[in-house]
Symmetry: C2
Subunit: 202 residues, 2 copies
């Protein structure tokens, strides 16, 4: 480590923290750290505070595992939402992307993952049981499976069908408007809406 | 703005703060915000604190404008540095990159920009006067100009030469050519031309 680097311990520390973020390499992290250094204090602290606030006040909805600021998220609380439909996703970020596209007005269920036997992720490790309980609770007519178009996502969709079919609910899968191999959260709004409209019964 | 977005005010706020960073678009910012949401609290707060610390304790060296934790940076304070040479860069991040390469043991001077008449950046807006004062102060034998190989960087180099030549110091420009390890056939035309122009006798 050069003298310069030692003296810039705090900047190096910030760079290291940026490197931990997904998709941020060493050079980008260094650029971000220098940007923070040059930015006015107010702007920089606003980012620090925003991170703090998210960790302090944002939690997960007890029902659907969406991001929430109370026990139930705004979607689960919203009386205008169609409670006969539950759209199942792997991650809260996918839920967020789908809901921003405004093509869907029902409820959600976040699995917090997908079946991946090779990584040791089995049905007990994702929120399938919780979904089953919601279906058992009654009032649900359709489950729309929006797991990613990957091997794990497909396996999860098939498993969900097997588990939920006995309850007599309609089970559908969003249409392949989504390019295979692409994460749902990166799709554009029109594609997302199309894929929800074009869902097929499983 | 959808209901979901409103409900996730804090997450949206964090996303907005990430978007302000250079090279971070809307989707990446959202991914980063969700990452923060999912990361354990300790990790997330470490980033927040690192930003805070940088703004609190890191400042710029009064002499060279390098990043510093006291009035003078470690380099300007270092008695082992060759005080007869000043290497001139546009940004502190360039200084950092050059110093990490360990090929140079003199002092630095950060201009904090480059001449760009179209953007209204004139000689008074970058730290040329400060460099002139350092040369006037005596003891400086060589100014090494390491501004970027852009139109602005070239204009700045020419301007510096004009201003500093009367003081009788040697003024040099770092070599621009083929990066070590790169195949010559992949170099762009300007780089090739520069590297041929800058050829040295063997």
């Amino acid at each position: 480590m050069s003298v310069q680097q030692q003296s810039q311990g705090l900047l190096a520390k910030l760079t290291k923290e940026f490197v931990r973020l997904p998709g941020i390499g060493q050079k980008t992290a260094q650029r971000l750290a220098f940007h923070m250094m040059k930015a006015n204090k107010e702007d920089a602290l606003r980012l620090a505070n925003a991170i703090r606030d998210v960790k302090e006040f944002v939690t997960f909805c007890v029902q659907c595992r969406n991001i929430a600021e109370c026990e139930l998220c705004e979607i689960c609380q919203d009386p205008k939402r169609d409670r006969t439909k539950i759209l199942v996703v792997e991650e809260p970020s996918t839920l967020f992307a789908i809901d921003q596209s405004r093509g869907y007005k029902g409820l959600y269920h976040v699995l917090m993952g997908s079946l991946s036997p090779l990584d040791g992720v089995g049905p007990a490790d994702i929120r399938v049981k919780e979904l089953e309980l919601r279906v058992q609770g009654g009032g649900v007519e359709e489950i729309i499976v929006a797991t990613n178009p990957t091997i794990e996502g497909e396996a999860t969709a098939i498993y969900l069908t097997k588990v939920l079919k006995p309850y007599g609910v309609k089970i559908s899968r969003i249409a392949y408007g989504i390019p295979v191999g692409m994460d749902i959260e990166y799709a554009d709004d029109v594609t997302l809406t199309k894929s929800i409209e074009g869902r097929r019964e499983l």
